[in-house]
Each structure stands twice: as structure tokens, then as C-alpha cells.
Amino acid sequence: MPIELTVNGRRHELDVPPFYPLAVVLREELGLNGTKVGCFEGRCGACTVVVDGRTVVSCIYPVGLADGAEVRTVEGLASLEGPLSPLQDAILDHGGVQCGACTPGVLMTLTALLEATPSPSEHEVREALEGNLCRCTGYQGIVDAVMAVTGGAR
């Protein structure tokens, strides 16, 4: 039985094994390589995407459990021709990107956070990022970017 996914607003019927990790389906079946796979054991958060409004680590999320769900990936944050999202711009401006391996997961975590909590405190931002490992930036640039976008108090 095909698995139905709506990814970044586009509906797909996929004939894939249900225990394929969602990250692999996004990358290999749909060509959405923005989602990165780091540890493949749910610890680094590089593969974080949003499924029905909540973040999941897609490297250990079986695609079968996402059947019928709406999935959002980093490709959905801005169109190819259009400008970056305000959050993406801010992360660039504040030095929140260095090697970039963690960036798609960080962006999806923060996107979900800001949709649920439009004006988070710095503590809430850092808590949300608990599952996203970044070994380049020290997080400060990422946190600064969020606070700049939201105009939040430190």
C-alpha cells in the first residue's frame, strides 16, 4: 500500500518500505537533500523536520508512521527564486552558519519553536536547541539571530 505524504505543500504517493527512515525517503526518493543525516541514531538533530507541526528526528522516524502527514523541510522555508526567510537571513547575518551541516535541522527546530512561541526567551531558544548539535558556532550566533528576528528581551 503506498504511503501518502504531503511535503512542503506537495502531495506524494510513495511505494517505499514503511520502515525506511523518513530522512532517507526525503533525500533519496524526493531529492530533498536539504535534510542532512548526521549520526543516524537520533542524537545530533541534523535531520530534524516538522511532521504535523511537531519536530521529529527523521533519521529514526519510520516513514510509515508519517503516512497521511504534512511534512515540512528546509526547502519549504523559501522558494528557489525568492528571498530567504527572515530567520534564515538573520542566521546568516549573525554568524550562525559555519560548516552548515546542522543548519537545516536548526532552522526547522526554530521554525517550529517560533510558530508555537512567537516571542521566546533566550532560555526557551536554548532549550529548544537541546537536540541540535552544532560544533562550529558555539550557538551564540544562532541564538542572537532568533532574538533579533523576534525582538525578544535577553
Binding site: I60, L65, E130
Partner: protein
């Protein structure tokens, strides 16, 4: 691909009866799945996977959380769904809020935490023991209720077609509870040791009843009668809390592990109980 956990088949159930029926047909070849965090990592843990899994994500009953006395927590309620629990169930809310990063907590479930074995660091077990929880179980023979301690003692031999429908957790007004976990680093870690304390106090502040459970010290979390006895009959002070932790040291045998040696898991118990007791008066940190 590093993870080879894509071979099994997946069936979907929409009711508890349907799920139990599927599991009964599958027998030893089948198991339930909800968040998938345990099942997907089974190959890395060198644990066998089942030929078929029954997805519980569409079973509405399993996702219900009804607060009250008792509070009813469906087996598929996620860690994220539990983190708001406070008051008498503060220990459970705190454990859920600190057990996993958000993207795991969004899918990892109560029943998964209770079923997973061997998993000494399962954070919800000690709080549920200290809160005197019972489990409603569904099997082809119908539904039954079992104290959590009895479930854990028989967990390795439970029938294949059995589901944890919900946890039933007493939450009388005035009960206080707290959870404390020790990790090597602050986040993303399973606890080296943990303690859950739940107390009922008299008007003068003396402890009338106490339930103290330790997690991650031994292979399976359990209550300590000696720690509980040491807390009852007097006020909640740091000295009496440390005495309770010392009493527990005589009952528990620390498991050896790469994260910590067995002796260390036992050595930290007095400090852990002291910290948990100190939090009994504090608001829930979420």
C-alpha cells in the same frame, strides 16, 4: 545506509481491540510501535526486530490524558504531552521534560518507556513507581489492571498480544512529588542515577507516607523500603533526606556501565535524594 531497520512490515490499527487482534494473530512475530525511537535503534543495540509491527498512532484512546484523581495517561501520550504535569504529579512532569530533546520527546511515548528493556535509564519508570501507578492492560482476554511494580517484575514474560492502554496515577490534593536525575553532561544523556520521591504530609509538616523509587542504579527501577521508612515520621529536611539516601544504599546494587561504575551510582544517592526533597517545595521547572 547505516540503519538497516527498514525490513519489517507495518500494519495500522484504529482501536485498542483492533491492535490487540492484530498482535494476537502475529504472535511472537509482532509488536506494537508508536514513536519508533526504540524500534528504529534496535539494530544498533544489536537487538532483534520483529517481522511485523502494529502502528498505534491512529488509536485515539491511547493518546488521551485526563487529569484528576486519579490521572489517566494513555499509553501513546508522548513525553512532550506529559511535561506540563505539576502538583502531585510534578515528578512525572519533570522527568518527561528532562528525559529527551524536543524532537524525541515529541514522539516517544509513556508505554514505550515502560515496555523498553533492557533500558535502565528509562526516566518515567521511577516517578510512576513513586506515584503508585497501575497499568490498564488489554489482551485478547479483555482488560485488566496491574500495579506497575508487578508489571515490571513480569515484563520479560508478558504476552505478545498485550498492550498498555493507560497508566492510572493517584493524584490526591496535597501530595507532593519530585524527580532528580544525575547525568554526566547536562543534556542529551541518560541518567547515571535518578530518584523520584512522593510524600503525603501532615498539617505540622511531618511526612505521613513516602514512596521513593530509584532509576538507572540497577537494571530496572524499584522502590526502596528503607529510604521510605527513613523519611516517614518527621519533617522534610536536608539531613533526613540524606539519611533516606544512605538507607537506600544498603538495598541497592549499582550496575556496571560505560557511563559510570556501579559503586558511583550508589554513592550519589544521598545527594540525589537531598536534591529531590529540596525540590518538593519548588515550582515545576519546565
Amino acid at each position: 545506509m547505516a540503519n538497516d531497520a527498514h525490513v519489517p512490515e507495518l500494519r495500522y490499527a484504529s482501536t485498542v481491540d483492533e491492535a490487540v487482534g492484530e498482535l494476537a494473530r502475529l504472535g511472537a512475530d509482532g509488536a506494537p510501535i508508536a514513536g519508533g525511537t526504540w524500534v528504529m535503534l534496535a539494530p544498533l543495540r544489536r537487538m532483534p526486530t520483529h517481522r511485523s509491527y502494529v502502528a498505534l498512532t491512529r488509536v485515539e484512546e491511547l493518546g488521551r490524558l485526563v487529569e484528576g484523581d486519579p490521572t489517566s495517561i494513555g499509553g501513546a501520550v508522548t513525553m512532550a504531552g506529559l511535561r506540563g504535569l505539576s502538583g502531585p504529579l510534578a515528578a512525572l512532569g519533570y522527568a518527561a521534560a528532562h528525559s529527551a530533546p524536543p524532537a524525541i520527546a515529541n514522539v516517544a511515548t509513556l508505554a514505550g518507556n515502560l515496555r523498553a528493556a533492557p533500558y535502565p535509564g528509562a526516566d518515567l519508570v521511577a516517578p510512576l513507581l513513586a506515584l503508585d501507578a497501575a497499568l490498564e492492560l488489554a489482551s485478547p482476554d479483555g482488560r485488566s489492571t496491574l500495579p506497575l511494580g508487578d508489571y515490571l517484575a513480569s515484563r520479560d514474560a508478558r504476552p505478545a498480544a498485550e498492550l498498555i492502554v493507560r497508566a492510572i496515577v493517584p493524584a490526591p490534593a496535597g501530595r507532593r512529588s519530585a524527580y532528580e536525575r544525575l547525568t554526566v553532561r547536562e543534556s542529551g544523556e541518560e541518567p547515571v542515577a535518578s530518584v523520584a520521591v512522593s510524600v503525603d504530609l501532615a498539617a505540622d509538616g511531618a511526612v505521613m507516607a513516602a514512596r521513593v523509587a530509584f532509576g538507572s542504579v540497577e537494571d530496572v527501577a524499584r522502590r526502596s523500603a528503607a529510604a521510605e521508612a527513613a523519611l516517614v515520621g518527621g519533617p522534610l529536611t536536608a539531613e533526613r533526606a540524606e539519611a533516606a539516601g544512605k538507607a537506600a544504599q544498603g538495598e541497592l546494587t549499582g550496575r556496571e556501565g560505560l557511563d559510570a561504575p556501579g559503586w558511583y551510582r550508589v554513592a550519589v544517592l544521598p545527594a540525589l535524594v537531598r536534591r529531590a526533597v529540596a525540590r518538593l517545595d519548588a515550582p515545576l521547572e519546565a
